[in-house]
Every structure is written in structure tokens, then in C-alpha cells.
Amino acid sequence: MSAFYLMVPVSIALATAFLYVFLKLNDNGQFDDTTSPSVRMLDDKTVDAPEAPKKENE
């Protein structure tokens, strides 16, 4: 049973790490708009994002 004393804090630490990553992404706007990116990628005519790759040949 003494393993619990180690396992419980470790599991909480792990879960907290995931929570932290989620909150960080949330703050950066990862989940702001889940609709338009999925639509945008279907349209290959618009180059919207600044980091979009350069078009080699049209």
C-alpha cells in the first residue's frame, strides 16, 4: 500500500502537467475558432495565415 504515497502525487503531477498544457494552449487561442480552420483548409486559393507555405508553382 505504501506505493500509493508515491503513485498518487505522481499521477496528480502528470494530470496537472496535462492541465497546464491545455490551459496554455487555451490562452494562446488554440480553441478559439474550431470552425473556420476546418473550412479554410479546403479552399486552396486563399493564403490566409502568415506562416502559410509559399506556393512553388501554380
Binding site: A15, L19, N26, D27, D33
Partner: protein, 739 residues
Amino acid sequence: MAAPHSNPYTALDQVDLYPHVYKHWSENNAVAELHLPTIHCASCVRTLETWPKWREGLDSVVVDFSQQTAVIRFNPTLVSLSDLALELQGMSFPPDISLAQSNGSSVHPKKSALARLQFKQMAVAGFVFGNTMLFALPEYFGMEAGSDLSLFIRWITAFLSIPLVWISGAPFLISGWAALRQRTTNMDVPISLGIAALFLQSHWDVWTGSGPGYFDSLAGLLFFLLVGRWFQSQTYSALHFERDYRSFFPFSVWVVQNGKEVAKPLESLKTGDLVRVRHGEMVPVESTVLEGVSAVDVSFLTGEAQPQDVTPGSRVPAGAQLVGGSVLLRAEKALDQKYLTSLWSEDTGGRRPQWTALTDRLGRAFTGVVLGISAAAALVWAFLDPSLMVPVVTSVLIVACPCALALAVPFALGNSVRLLGRQGAFVKSTATVERLAAVGAWVFDKTGTLTVAGSVQWSEPSGITPLQRIALRALANQSAHPLSRSLVQHFTTQGTVDEGVVAQFEEALGRGISGVVGSKKYRLGSPVFCNQDPAAAPDHAVGAVEDGVFLGWFLPLSSFRPGLNQALSGLGSVPISVLTGDTDGERQALLAAVPSQTELRFRQKPEDKKAYVQALQERGFSVAMVGDGLNDAGALAQSDVGITVAEDALHFAPACDVLLRGDALPQLDRMQRFAQAGVRAVRLSIFMSLAYNVVGLSFAVRGALTPEVSAILMPLSSLSVVAFTTLYTRRQAQKIFAS
């Protein structure tokens, strides 16, 4: 008064720094829109909108729930915006003022800030909920209580509950506290009491070593509440999206391209477009006058009653209504449809104060009853078994949460508004649906309402010259009256297209128009307006006069909308009247088009129409007035439900509650039946949520309802109300409109 230095919002008072905040500014009248990200429930809206009642200098506050914005109208000589912003902060609605919003499309960052906060709160609640449930398991499976390991786990869950209440519980606690401080109650008050009771009781248990506490139910409660709230805001924004962009303004504007007027959809209007606006129409965007001398009525925007003169070069604000001759405008800004929508829906001040929605009264009584029951239960259990007192009170508070009640109206009537919009009726508010359902007498205007404005054929007076045609077409083109529009179409189909220049244009409402074209003065209008004997005039004729010489009659052959008779009969055996400013020449045609018991009145001036509506109301009827909003604005404002039939252009009648697409008029009877179905859905769901509460309470006061079960039962009742209202209204819409 706060010292100016201590106010972080002082910069807000500089109008030129915050052009996106100020919608209008003048000496003693300013309109500002603030983003208040903490608006989250119906009572927030009430709190903010009743603020002007006790705040001097504040004229009105109108909240846009899904966008979390408030449009504040105030008098800058009495109060400054920075003071108002500081007070808002004190009311737990800190305004979000960032310059980033100033460059146009501000909707996105605003909404996402709230969504991020909601995600954060849900994530923390979910995290704590999962972990606490997991750690609570050994205890439920009979692990030796009081062992070192169980104490260790208790302390961990107690520790986890701190960020839980701090982050996820904050929205409820803050809003509940703010309500108490203002000596009102909202639905967050009982929720906050529940949270506080659970939290303190659990910590007491752990610190004294008497038990494991209720941390798992606390986490579960907050998680479900937050998910419910998120779902609600998702639905609201979906609703709002449809209201805003798809259906609200089905109008077109007359854009001048290459010297020709083309009707274009409102949303395709761009900066720099040339727009023709006529008497009675609304200026769609802020523009500069290029041609024409006229006046605009801005009473609707700023409260200034006098129409203001405009000449070439003048700037006119969006939403101004043109009174006088037509003008050519250049659009200076892009279309802000939300702003136009807000103009229409804001015009609620002071109208029909006698109407208090049933749910408002019920909701207010509710909190008091709940608090009373919990106090009584607490007293009883204090004698029976003090150790059960807190759990009982907690479960009473939780199970009685008025969420289901609060959801009934927005979902049932909001959904009705949406479904009516699909049928071509654009309803101003959910309260309008309730009023539409209760209408007991109908009054119709004839021209442009029962008749189709565009399809009227005309016969011309004999001997009219092409030059006179050009002049009369130019004159008629100044007016937005259906007869004028129809005459212009007639002339256009006859091949007369050149645009003459009209000076000294005047419109006598319901009688006629006059103006100078070239060197001659022309009049178009009713027989009296043309100095002719009305008795000798042919049926329903428009006279034309050139420099005092009578030219002859234009005779229309009006066509009534198809399906009219059936629709009016479908309204049931209620008083139906048709009022018209025209002569009774068309009596026979009208009689054939409407049910036989319909009352017909001819030669009605705008004030007669208003008096007629008033007389019906005095006889105890709830009256709906259906008109085109041009010469019946008074009657529309007087009626209980003002319905404006909109055919093509921007006829914008601020007094109306419903904008009806012309071709949707024959559906009117079905629309009323559907509105009644919507109200029935509200009644049923109120009954449902009360039934839930009664059942839940009867368990809770006996101490038989554990906080865990009630934490599940409560969101379940909310979800079932949402599901029921949505399905019921949709089913009714199919049944009523499909047949």
C-alpha cells in the same frame, strides 16, 4: 465622486481616442458600446438594463447577451463614461477596453475571451472532478477510515478543492455576491449558497478528522453547471448568428452603377458605393450626400426631434431616416449590420409597460420560495439531527436551482423567433412572440400590404407628352410610397428612364407629392390634392397637375396577394379590418379578396388609423396592425404588435415589432398559430421544471437526496427542458407550416 487620478478609465472620455466605443456623440447625448465579458445570465441583463432607473444622467442600457456588450446612452454633461465604467467595474462587470478592437471587426476577440475563460473553468473543474472521484473510490469501497492513507487522500482532495472553488466556482460566487450587494437575487445566489455550504462543510470534516467531506460532489456540481452554462452560451451565439446575418434585414439598397439604379442586397454594400435613398427610407451606412437637398430624421438615433437639413457634402449617420426628396449618397463606412439590428431592437423604451412576462414574475418569486424552504428545512433538521442539517440544506439549494426555469423562455421563444425568421417574419424579441400569440383583432393597411406594390398596372391620361412623363417619373422617384414606386416602374416599362432634377420636393403623407422639375411645378396625388372633386374622380385614381393645369388620372389595376382570403379566414372569428387612405372605388375588388365579415374603411388619414387602433384597444382587444410603415407609423406604434410588410427597399419603421416579407403575408394565420405553440412550449416547460423541483425538494427536505444525486438531477432537468422546447417548437413548425 472618485478622484480622476484613481479612475483607470479616464482616457475613455476622449471621444476621438475611442471611435469604436462611441457610436454617437453630441453636447448632451452620447451613445457608447462597451464590451462586458462577465455578462453571463438573464439576471445580469436585468441588473444592467435597470441601472438607468437609479443612475442620474444615464438614459438607457441595452445588453447584447451573446456578444457580451452593452450599448449605453447617457448625457455627457451629467456623467462621464469613465465614471460609468468605474461603476460597472464595481458591479462586477469590468469593461474590456482594448485598442485592438478599434480596427473594425471586433466581434472575434471579444467572444473568444469569454470562451477561453469558460474552457479554463471547465478544464479545472473537470480535472478536479476526475481526480477527486478517483481518490474517493477507496473510501467508498470500505477502505479503513482513519488510516494514514485515507487521511493522506483526504488532505489531497481538500487541497485540490481550493483551485476548484477559486477558478471554477468564481463566476457563480462573484455574480451571486454582486446581486446580494445590490439587494436583489438572481439564480446564482442559491447556487453560491450551495457551493459555500459544500466547501465549508467538507473542510470542516477534514480538518476535524470527522469524515472525507463532499469534495467529489462539489467538483461534479461545478463541472455540470459550467458545462450547462457553456452549452447555453453556445446556443445563444448560434441564435444570435442567425438573427444577425441570415435573416434580419432581408432588404436591398438602390446602388447606382454606371448611371443605373440596381437593387443590391444590403450586405453587399461596400465603402464608396453610390446609394439612392428616398423619402421614408433609412440610410444604411454612414455616408456623405453627393446630390439632393433634403432632411434626415435622427430622433430614432439621438432623440433629437427636429429633422436636420442635409445638403451636398453633409455627413449622415447610419440609421437616419430620410424625410423629403431623394438624395444620392456615397457610403463612407462598411455595413455594420449589428448596429442596424440594435437600432431596431433597442427601441423598447417605455412601450407597453403593462406587459410583464409570466416567467419574469415567476422567476422573481422563485428565489424567495427556495430560500424559505431551505430555512424551514434547516430549522426542522436542527432539532431532528443537527449533523444532517448542512447536507439537507445543501441538497435543497442544489436541487432547487432555477436553471431549467431560466432556460425555458430563451430556448422555447428564441427557437420560435428563429423558426419564424425562416418563414419570412423577423420578430423583434421573444416578448413579441408572446404578444403575437395573444392578438385578438387585426387591422390591415391596403396599399402595399394587401396589394402587391410592384405589379400594379397603370393606365395613363390621354395626351400626355414624353416630357411630362420624364418629369412625373422624376417626381415619383423621390418618394418611397408604394404608389410612387409603382408609377416609376410603370414609366420605366414605358421606356421613360431619364432622371430629371427635382427641386422643392414635398410629400403630404397619404395625400400626394409635389415638386418643381425644369421650370414647371408638378403635383401627383389624390383628387383633393389636385384640386379635383373627389366624387367625380374615377376609382382609386392618382391625379397629375402641371403648373395648376390638371393633366388627368393615372388609373391603377391593383392586384391582391394570392392566398389572402384564406389567410385572413384562418385568423379565426376575430375582428378584422382593412383601413385605406384611398377612395372606395375598389370596394368590390377588396370585398372579393377578403373574408365577408371584414370591416372596410376608406379615406383614412394616418391619424384616423391610429384612432381606430386605439378604439379597438379600448374595447379590450389586443390589436395587431399590419402596414407598410409609411403612412401608418402612428397606428403601428399604437398597436400591440406592429407588423411592417417590407417588399424591397429599406422601409425601416422603428415602431414595428415584426418585419414581414411581402410574400409571407398569406402565412400570417399560421404564424400566429405557431407563436401560440411557442408560448405553450414555455408553459409546459415551466410546468416540467416545477415538477422536477417539487420531486427533488420532497426528497431533499427528508434528507433522502444525496448531494451527488442532486448534482446529476439538476443538469438533467435543464437538459430535458432544452430538448423538449427545441423538439416541440420544431415539430410544431413542421406541422403548421408544412400543410
